[in-house]
Symmetry: C2
Subunit: 227 residues, 2 copies
DNA sequence: ACCTGAACACCGTTCAAGT
DNA sequence: ACCTGAACACCGTTCAAGT
């Protein structure tokens, strides 16, 4: 299901050059840089960029997907760690560090970008890993039972975005915010229960399901197919 | 210092129409709508938009400033409330509600927009109110003493942004996140101290100080003027 | 099969001509 | 003093012509 078409080796190299050039320039000056500049930095024509990526949005999405996949890999590796609580917080900690370095990742992660099927798909994967880590930490008694992985993802995304904005204030602002998240979801001291119900991973998936996307059946269709 | 030039009454009305039309369209379809559409919805020519606002960014900033001023007013009113803790959390609660309705407000509040002097100035005002509320709540013993107003502002902004992204999941997702913020900053159960030091309001101001802005002396200059 | 740059549509901004 | 729309520069995207 991935990289199916065997492409010419120079084309593959050009694609890599475009991704690298784009990452560089996006980090330097944000997402508003022109595609002409990206192609120029990659040493290629503008047309080549659009041959590799159907749109500028798709180019950005490709970079975001790469970064999120790296987070997923780190998360999966940490699932084997001995201390469930520390593993979860270490993952969150790394996410904050990544968001401070690669601004493009978190700049492109609001709901406008969730309609992109590639980004939504990789988010579902990340959420599955996060869900496993949260469940493990809850079983170990270090995380309160009324928070879900979606709750944590939302807090995480918010803190990353905000602490990136304020990183000039204080280099450790991200760590500080992480400690606050930790205080929020830690097991003891929860006299006051959270309002609403813990959002489940299924709700998250059905919420971001795309119309017309192959292989992902909308929840409505699942519900009717049985009756 | 405000609205000094007495303008023609029809010009003032046109300015209002542009702000209202822009707010409407921004809420409907985000900040990427064209200025032509905004002017059309306001029943005016494109040139009139640029006579009232030097750029599209300035138009957006004007709307943001209006909304933040409303938050400041609500906050000042709540400073007189009898219960310091509830007052603080009610303010945070309202901020989340506003962010869910007026997407333009929080979409335009990352660090790219902090270089806008109007937005930075109104942020300093908001921070002063928030600082008063946090200090009051700390004195009442309901908020832990090692968090600052800047900490709360960062969490608040993050939660607003993220819960706006996920509001389709669950209408109460904002309230839920608010409860998590509350758990994070509440007084009891803080065995684990926060890393780093509480960022002060002064740090915040000096961090976002603009070059060449009249009346706001950079911290560096204050430090040298005494020697 | 892939690359390229001219060409197109569109958008933010300016400005000379109007009232 | 203010309004207007044609005109300009720029950017994302397409495509006919090249290798």
């Amino acid at each position: 299901m991935e990289e199916r078409t065997p492409r010419r080796v120079d084309a593959e190299r050009n694609r890599r050059r475009l991704l690298d050039a784009a990452t560089e320039i996006f980090c330097e000056r944000g997402l508003d840089v022109s595609v002409g500049e990206i192609a120029e930095r990659a040493g290629l024509g503008r047309g080549t960029l659009f041959r590799n990526f159907p749109s500028k949005e798709a180019l950005i999405a490709a970079i975001v997907v790469e970064r999120v996949r790296e987070s997923i890999a780190r998360g999966r590796a940490m699932l084997a760690a001995p201390d469930p609580g520390e593993a979860l917080f270490a993952l969150v900690d790394q996410a904050i560090r990544v968001s401070e370095t690669d601004r493009v990742l978190f700049e492109a992660l609001d709901d406008n970008w969730m309609v992109n099927e590639e980004i939504a798909a990789v988010h579902r994967e990340l959420l599955a890993v996060l869900d496993a880590m949260v469940t493990r930490a809850q079983a170990a008694g270090v995380v309160r039972r009324d928070v879900s992985a979606v709750d944590v993802l939302i807090m995480l995304k918010g803190v990353c975005e905000a602490s990136r904005s304020f990183r000039h204030l204080d280099a450790d602002i991200g760590l500080r915010q992480l400690d606050l998240v930790r205080a929020a979801i830690s097991a003891p001291g929860h006299e006051r229960p959270l309002r609403g119900h813990p959002p489940t991973v299924q709700e998250f998936e059905c919420c971001h399901a795309q119309t017309g996307a192959e292989g992902s059946v909308p929840a409505a269709e699942l519900a009717t197919s049985g009756g």
